[in-house]
């Protein structure tokens, strides 16, 4: 039964005959298909009388060889005849994969597609922002519809649960800034300026920026994945049919949560970073905490705090919107959810940094240096 398939070629009076033998099932074919392909015609007949067993793959192999060499299939038992006839009926080319495109054309096509996509994404994001504003307005007019529970729950997920990781990150960043700064400033004998560096940098820029990056990675990605999965399982469509607006039920609570949490987290992050910097100053530069705080109050203007706190909710809007927007774009399959999640994070961080640059120019222009 499990004898390997084999072939023998015989040339006699009636022309060439290929005798197949053994088990012509896929498990026992081994190199038989390759050997059959190597045969050259003309062949009069393929003899199956020594074949003990055959499956459709064996039958197909016989069929294609017979067709190629113009041979007749003889000596098969009932099973073999039935299977060969069955697969013969199905002999019709089926394309396996989409047509291949020339590499150059593909590259040009991909560039074009990417440009169109970025344009469409930007437009879509603007449209989505508009839709969020419209939804907020209708919610302001009908405050009874507001989903407090959903928002409070998001507060916890976005804000409270992030305290640990953001705190740790900020503390370490404060230490790194102070350490690197002190090494450079020591060359000028101005180690005290490390306090200026830590205070101004964290309140103006790094506290909020690092928080934004962390929130984009933690919450923006989660939003995209959640909404994307809900789109796939048609939950979003079900909401629409019941008359619940997904904008109101899904997007607004998330956006609001991030917008409210970002300034709080940003402030917390700045404070912890300053503590980190102060800790290093105390340990490495021997500046006692009391001096550190006193000096900090002298050199860091209150406008630095405002700069950070004004930026934070804007970053929050960007993070929440790109997360929700990308999630709502999911249409086809699970793979797209992953792709969209990545896109949401990349887009959010990119836009946050771009907007941050604009803010820097703006605040210099208004004289908050």
């Amino acid at each position: 039964m499990n004898k390997a398939a084999d072939l023998a070629e015989e040339t006699g009076d009636g022309g060439t005959v290929i005798r197949l033998s053994g088990n012509l099932a896929i498990a026992c074919l081994h190199d038989l298909p390759a050997r059959l392909d190597g045969l050259q015609g003309p062949v009069n007949a393929i003899d199956l009388s020594q074949v003990d067993h055959i499956d459709t793959i064996g039958a197909w192999t016989v069929h294609r060889t017979a067709k190629r060499l113009g041979a007749e299939v003889v000596g098969g038992d009932e099973d073999a005849c039935r299977l060969i006839a069955a697969v013969g009926q199905l002999d019709e080319p089926v394309p396996i994969r989409p047509d291949k495109v020339h590499p150059l054309r593909r590259v040009v096509g991909q560039i074009g597609e990417a440009v169109c996509n970025s344009g469409a994404t930007l437009l879509g994001l603007l449209g989505f922002f508009g839709a969020t504003l419209v939804a907020s307005w209708s919610l302001i007019r009908h405050p009874g519809r507001f989903r407090w529970n959903a928002v409070i729950q998001r507060f916890e997920v976005v804000g409270v649960s992030a305290l640990g990781i953001i705190g740790l990150m900020s503390f370490l960043i404060g230490i790194v800034i102070a350490q690197q700064g002190s090494v450079q400033l020591r060359q000028f004998g101005m180690e005290m300026l490390t306090i200026n560096l830590v205070g101004r940098l964290t309140f103006r820029e790094l506290g909020v920026l690092m928080t934004a990056i962390m929130v984009a990675g933690r919450s923006g990605s989660a939003f995209a994945a959640q909404l994307g999965t809900m789109k796939l399982t048609e939950e979003v469509d079900a909401m629409r049919t019941i008359g619940v607006s997904p904008m109101e039920a899904l997007v607004l609570p998330r956006t609001l949560a991030v917008v409210v949490m970002m300034p709080l987290l940003g402030f917390y992050s700045s404070i912890v970073a300053v503590i980190g910097g102060g800790f290093l100053c105390w340990v490495a530069l021997e500046i006692p905490p009391i001096t550190f705080v006193q000096r900090l109050r002298e050199v860091v203007p209150i406008t630095d705090l405002w700069v950070g706190l004004i930026k934070a909710p804007v970053f929050g809007i960007i993070i929440a919107l790109s997360g929700c927007f990308q999630g709502m774009q999911v249409k086809a399959n699970a793979e797209e959810v992953g792709m969209r999640t990545t896109a949401a994070v990349v887009q959010a961080i990119f836009l946050v940094i771009v907007i941050d640059a604009f803010f820097a120019v703006f605040f210099t222009w208004v004289g908050w240096n």
């Binding site: 392909d37 459709t56 199905l90």
Partner: protein, 290 residues
Amino acid sequence: MSEEEIQEAEDRRIEEAVETSDIAIKVRGLKNSFGDQVVHEHLDLDVRKGEILGVVGGSGTGKSVLMRSIIGLQTPDEGEVCVFGESMIGRLDDEALAIRKRWGVLFQGGALFSTLTVAENVEVPIREYYPNIGPQLRDEIAAYKIRLTGLPTEAGPKYPSELSGGMKKRAGLARALALDPDLLFLDEPTAGLDPIGAAAFDDQTRKLQQTLGLTVFLITHDLDTLYSICDRVAVLADKKVIAVGTIAELLALDHPWIQEYFNGPRGRAATAAVEREKGKAANKPTDGRQ
């Protein structure tokens, strides 16, 4: 022991072997549980070679779990599962491979690989198990398998997300049949298909089973499927298989669930449809003669 006795024992052994070799799947004393919830207990089931066995049962009676235990996706707490006479429990992956090549599984949603085209999906098992089959031949095999399940040729280069539910099932069937299995597991193949599509799928299953000599383990809720293509039906209830037999045999039993299942409004409709079909077939020649 005399020579005769040895001969007799030998005969008995052969007889037993012949008897068991008729059985494709043998399940004995199966127990499955999730936490405190016991799904199966002391479950016994035999699937004969070359038959289509329908498996029915209420929702949550563990039809899919039974299938998953047989194909090794779920390790049962207790019991024995033999497929083609080989025990499948506690086997290493390598050892089970030889048996695994002999079955094909169609999951409920088709479970096609979403990043591959339909044809590439069909090629996956061939590529995985038989690298000796060249790419040209592999493409040809995928092509006729796709045609075999009744898919149009245009379906080959399409991605699963571009297919309708019925086409996904057919594509899943084509992949399940890729290695010419002896044993085919179908999990609710006609669920979610329109009646015409479902009937066509049943037809196809029957035809394939006859052409390829398959043994089919078919989980279904579709009474029409049970009536039209199943040789025997196994009923899952009370954590075990309470009865196996033809529908007529099952109806003769006095179990409330079976009675309700087959004699409920839907059951009666399906019975009536079968009767009508039979009537039509019987009437045809007479009509022709008149």
